[in-house]
């Protein structure tokens, strides 16, 4: 049994935890670059937000038009941060739950480096005006193919690790993680083939684009986040998951209905397509209830333990944001609501909450738990973890509430044609300006997070030097 110590931050550290130490190099590359990309994403988000205060800001720089900055923000967050942090967590999960080392740490590290190279090329391409024009899939073909190939490499190594497992029984967290990897490889291949390599005709492009983006959010990010929630909440609270059956029920119903594309109800497509999409989204109410019930029963009676560690706090708040984001999506898909809220800040609020709230917080929860275990060293400064948590949580919440209220007001006011479009927009600018404050908090939060990880890594480096 490894020596254990409990850090004041509440993160339990097991020094030299066997198989997990094989994750060191890949996790170092993945987490370090994920955090840098997230910081960049929030900085681009802040620039975009500031342009509403001063439309002239950076207007003369073609690389930084509002459109390009917004696209790059999305891409840095989705591909730079989310997929990398996600794959880091899933890899560790397979190692930890399967009690087996990473299939090939060196290959994993090389693939991760290539992946980062692809994201860099993609971001530069979009800034230079080489965007594909497809929302959330802006990386030009040369970067997108590279990204896909390196992702598949990482995915294959993760799956090999999974199949090498010593512990044969599998748990819901592994199912969610495994599915997310497989799913991204498929949807990205579909988008590459049908949007870039051999583009489909006319509005079918939009259908494919929306389907891809919705699956990336709901299934890929959603499942990785849920894997973390299903793993960490029972583990850190010290109780078994209330019902494995209920978790599996949620898994299958989410995979089935959650993957039905988020097609706007008024889209110029045959009516059955938006109708099926709305039906699928509304049906996700079933798995949402199943997940919440399951975790509610797991946590019930141990609420005081939620305060016991930072990873648990991050994960728990991530779960709350997942619930709010899911309900928001369901409500927004109902035609009576969407006729008012489509194309307003309402939808932006949901996407931001999903990526920066739910996903980011659950992944940070995972990171704050995993990194000290894998490197056998405690976080240098628990106060930085607290600052990271409160800044990210506060920033996301502030920005979400502002855009939610702004979006509903915008939709409501636009419904009355007596109000001119510009007048309505000016009214909602107040909300956008409040959300800028949230964006600023997010930027500061990510600087703190990155600083904390850098301090830890430098300590590890010093320790290694001493040992050698």
């Amino acid at each position: 049994m490894n020596a254990t110590s409990t850090h004041p931050s509440g993160t339990r550290t097991e020094v030299g935890a066997g198989a997990e130490s094989s994750c060191r190099l890949p996790l170092l590359v993945l987490y370090k670059s994920a955090l840098i990309w997230l910081l960049l994403a929030t900085v681009f988000g802040l620039i975009a937000s500031l342009k509403f205060h001063a439309p002239h800001l950076l207007a003369g720089v073609p690389y930084l038009t509002y459109g390009r900055v917004v696209a790059v923000q999305t891409d840095c967050a989705l591909y730079g941060f989310a997929l990398q942090a996600g794959i880091a967590f899933v890899l560790w999960l397979f190692v930890r739950m399967g009690r087996t080392p990473v299939a090939s740490p060196i290959m994993m590290t090389i693939a991760a480096s290539f992946y980062n190279f692809a994201v860099t090329i993609g971001v530069l391409g979009v800034l230079c005006g080489d965007s594909t024009g497809f929302q959330g899939f802006e990386f030009p073909a040369y970067a997108a193919w590279m990204l896909w190939i390196s992702f598949v490499f990482m995915g294959v190594i993760a799956v090999l690790t999974y199949s090498n497992r010593d512990e044969q029984a599998t748990y819901p967290a592994q199912w969610f993680g495994f599915t997310a990897l497989f799913w991204f490889a498929w949807i990205c291949a579909t988008a590459l083939m049908l949007l870039l390599a051999r583009p489909v005709r006319g509005v079918v492009q939009s259908s494919v684009n929306w389907w891809y983006l919705h699956n990336l959010h709901s299934i890929v990010l959603g499942f990785i986040g849920l894997a973390a929630i299903f793993y960490f909440i029972p583990k850190l609270i010290g109780r078994a998951l209330f019902s494995r059956q209920l978790a599996l029920f949620a898994f299958w119903t989410l995979a089935l209905f959650g993957s039905w594309g988020q097609i706007p109800n008024g889209a110029p497509l045959p009516a059955w397509i938006p109708a099926m999409s709305t039906f699928g989204i509304v049906m996700t109410i079933i798995p949402v209830i199943a997940v919440v019930l399951n975790l509610w029963h797991t946590i019930r009676g141990s609420h005081e333990r939620l305060d016991s560690s930072w990873p648990l706090k991050f994960t728990y708040v991530g779960l709350m944001f997942w619930f709010i984001g899911s309900v928001h999506l369901i409500v927004g898909a109902v035609p009576a609501v969407s006729s008012m809220t489509d194309f307003t800040w309402f939808t932006v609020a949901q996407k931001n909450l999903w990526v920066y709230g739910f996903f980011t917080l659950t992944m940070f929860g995972a990171m704050y738990y995993i990194v000290p275990r894998v490197f056998g060293i405690d976080w240098p400064n628990p106060k930085l973890i607290a600052a990271h948590f409160w800044l990210t949580f506060g920033g996301v919440l502030l920005s979400y509430i502002a855009l939610l209220v702004g979006g509903i007001a915008e939709g409501y006011l636009l419904g009355d044609t007596q109000n001119s479009f510009v007048a309505v927009l000016r009214t909602t600018l107040a909300a956008v300006r409040v959300s800028t404050l949230g964006d600023l908090m997010l930027v500061v939060g990510q600087i703190v997070g990155l600083l904390n990880l850098t301090l830890l890594v430098s300590r590890v480096a010093r320790r290694e030097l001493k040992l050698s």
Partner: protein, 235 residues
């Protein structure tokens, strides 16, 4: 028990259902769509964009104008788009109607429908603005001295789509009516000119089978698509 293979097959099946519905299904139904005919004139619809318009669409894509501007007019029961004057087709016999239809985007790549409206919908902007006004708007959207200027707008200016040049023998016909240093004038770059040509070509006014003309036969007083000189079919 090792459930791995079962999970994999199950996940694969759910994935296929979703893919079948939102990728394969639409492709089978409308992926092979052919140009239609306008009603009642019988002209081909849609028509190819001209070279300048196509180049303009590339500028539109490169700068991601779709981040703020949609190009889709929703039916009456799904949003106030028609009431706001963004839709130009009136279908009296059918209260729902379908105001943007697949045919409108048949030759576009990429199709940039957009999902947020920080600015107004542009599906029919060509019926509201001509190329000159689009250029003024790109140069300085808030300048009320220029036609189409909206002082309250939050649209940024796009100075890199214009250049200031010395006036040659006479002022350029493309020069913008703005004051700069004496002896100089502001003209759009090729990209600026192309973008304006593209934006001014955006109009979904033709009546086709899916969106037939109102029974009275009198359109909404808008120009018909095919009457626009920039929109004639490529021969």
């Amino acid at each position: 028990m090792n459930f791995g293979p079962f999970v994999f097959i199950g996940v694969f099946c759910t994935m296929v259902i979703s893919w079948w519905t939102f990728v394969f299904g639409p492709q089978v139904q409308i992926g092979g769509m052919q140009p239609g005919a306008t009603v009642p004139a019988g002209d081909v619809y849609p028509v190819y964009r001209t070279g300048a318009q196509k180049r303009g669409a590339e500028v539109y894509r490169a700068n991601n104008c779709a981040a703020c501007h949609t190009q889709q007019v929703r039916p009456n029961n799904l949003g106030p788009d028609i009431a706001r004057g963004w839709g130009m087709r009136q279908v009296a016999s059918d209260t729902r109607g379908r105001y943007s239809v697949g045919e409108d985007y048949l030759y576009d790549y990429p199709v940039m429908l957009g999902t947020q409206r920080v600015g107004p919908d542009l599906a029919n902007v060509g019926t509201r603005m001509d190329e000159k006004v689009v250029l003024y708007h790109l140069y300085d959207p808030r300048n009320k001295d220029l036609p189409g200027g909206i002082p309250a707008s939050v649209m940024p200016p796009y100075p890199f789509l214009f250049k200031t040049q010395k006036i040659g023998r006479g002022p350029s016909p493309d020069a913008l009516p703005v004051k700069v240093e004496a002896g100089y004038e502001v003209v759009p770059t090729d990209d600026g000119q192309a973008l304006a040509a593209y934006v001014a070509s955006l109009r979904q006014t033709a009546y086709i089978f899916e969106v037939p003309p109102p029974p009275s036969g009198k359109p909404m007083g808008m120009r018909s698509t095919n009457s626009a000189p920039t929109n004639t079919p490529a021969k």
